[in-house]
């Protein structure tokens, strides 16, 4: 082993070091990537139209089947701020950080997909 190392050039050693750093970083980076925060998926008629981060505050107008809805993300929570529907059940639901908001008349669904940090696959209750 010692002989083999002695026979290496500076470039070999540099390459080895770079590879070592890359592979070690792979472990840490993939761990970090898997622990990203939650995503907000906005679907219209069952098709995803927007995928947003729950960590970025924003307001978004979404065109539904019969009217539009206003989705607001603030402080890691999301709500249907306003909607052109009769019952406004979606608006009354308020802020959520998990689960989903449905505006049935407009076929708009706002789903908070859990961040991969959580080990929970579904919630009962």
């Amino acid at each position: 082993m010692k002989k083999a190392i002695k026979n290496t050039t500076l470039a070999d050693r540099a390459l080895f070091l770079i590879l070592l750093i890359i592979s070690a970083a792979g472990f840490f980076y993939s761990g970090e990537a898997l622990s990203l925060g939650s995503e907000v998926v906005v679907e219209v008629k069952g098709r995803p139209v927007y995928t947003l981060s729950l960590d970025v505050d924003m307001e978004l107008e979404v065109e539904g089947s019969h009217g539009h809805g206003v989705v607001e993300i603030k402080k890691h929570k999301v709500r249907m701020k306003d909607a052109q529907c009769d019952n406004h059940i979606c608006v009354r639901q308020g802020w959520i950080s998990r689960g989903a908001i449905v505006c049935l008349p407009n076929d708009i669904v706002v789903i908070v997909e859990p961040g991969r940090k959580t080990d929970i696959d579904a919630i009962t209750g």
Binding site: M1, A4, N7, T8, D12, F16, L19, L20, I22, S23, G26, F27, S30, V41, E43, G46, I89, S97, R98, G99, A100, V102, L104, D107, V109, I111, E113, D119, I120, D121, A122, I123, T124, G125
Partner: protein, 336 residues
């Protein structure tokens, strides 16, 4: 140089391992069906296979939801209700099946779960905070009796003996739909997955890392984000349903009025905050969780065990009771 080559290969291996298993992944899709959110997760090596399976499962739920929709005049359930006291209604095998399971649960629970509770359910409106008067409730209570539901499997008919009777399958239909979806997925070649319809969850197989599915049980008195989950349970090939007094409710004069009505009194049952039941089929866990909620911790735990099921009960004081069969797969969250 040989050593370096070996090291190089080793590093490549490590790097590829650190990227994880790309072959089998969890695919997830959510749709609004049966007036709620339906979420399906499947484990598959191919996105196309996963999508095909999930689409078939959603279609099965949609079809079943149309058959038993209490609010749609075109549903088979509405036809059964319209024909109450007059004639039998010919229905689909799924409708017969779910009504039969509901009646069996009603029998086993001594009527604590009763699918003929419709007339009293109709008097309450939890969204509009509408509380019916005592006389109104007393008038409809005689209509509630599962023994007056006549099922004829041979002719595929259902008959409600008395005029004014109303079947309400709200306490079993979502669980049944979760089973239907899981069976559809299995038939289309998916071996591992999870179907979640509101609080009714049916699991089969395991996750890509061979671990069971982890289900969080909602805290019935959640105060913030951190205490949303009161317990977690690891399931594979099992179903779980939760009945809670926090789903549809209003508070009036310091009393909580919620949707879990006692068929005997017509008023909300008050012995529990939430009940989760674990068994093989979600239709049964759905119906039995309501029955256990109505019966309360003592009689409820006995019912679950007599039916070969497990249960987690949070009683009206917040104390957690559970059957011994789940002690190894249940973890209660710290601080609860």
């Amino acid at each position: 140089m040989k050593y370096l080559s070996a090291l190089f290969i080793l590093l490549l291996l490590i790097t590829s391992l650190s990227c994880g298993d790309r072959k089998r992944s969890v695919y997830r899709k959510t749709m609004p069906l049966m007036d709620t959110i339906v979420s399906i997760s499947v484990v598959s090596g191919s996105k196309d296979e996963a999508e095909r399976g999930m689409d078939k499962a959603f279609a099965a739920i949609d079809r079943f939801g149309t058959l038993i929709n209490f609010f749609s005049e075109k549903s088979e359930l509405s036809e059964i209700n319209r024909n109450a006291g007059t004639r039998e209604t010919r229905v689909s095998p799924e409708t017969i099946d779910v009504i039969e399971m509901a009646v069996i649960t009603a029998e086993k629970s001594g009527g604590a779960f009763d699918p003929s509770i419709g007339p009293v359910v109709k008097l309450w409106d939890f969204l509009k905070r509408k509380k019916p008067g005592g006389e109104e409730i007393r008038r409809v209570l005689p209509l509630i009796d599962f023994r007056n539901i006549v099922i004829d499997r041979q002719n595929s008919t259902v008959f409600l003996k008395n005029k004014g009777m109303l079947l309400d399958l709200g306490g079993i239909a979502k669980g049944y739909a979760a089973d239907l979806a899981a069976d559809t997925l299995i038939k289309s070649g998916i071996r591992d997955g999870l179907v979640s319809i509101a609080g009714d969850i049916r699991t089969f197989g395991v996750k890509p890392d061979n671990s069971p599915w982890t289900i969080g049980i909602k805290n019935p008195r959640q105060t913030g984000e951190k205490d949303e989950i009161i317990a977690r349970i690891r399931l594979s090939g099992k179903a779980i349903s939760t009945a809670g007094d926090y789903e549809r409710f209003f508070i009036d004069d310091n009393r909580r009025y919620h949707h879990l009505l006692d068929p005997e009194t017509g008023y909300p049952a008050g012995l529990c905050r939430s009940v989760s039941v674990i068994a093989g089929k979600a239709a049964l866990t759905d119906a039995v969780s309501t029955a256990v909620f109505i019966l309360g911790p003592e009689k409820g735990l006995k019912l679950a065990q007599d039916m070969g099921m497990d249960a987690i009960i949070i009683d009206s004081s917040g104390t957690i009771h559970s059957t011994p069969g789940i002690k190894d797969i249940l973890s209660i969250e710290k601080g609860n």
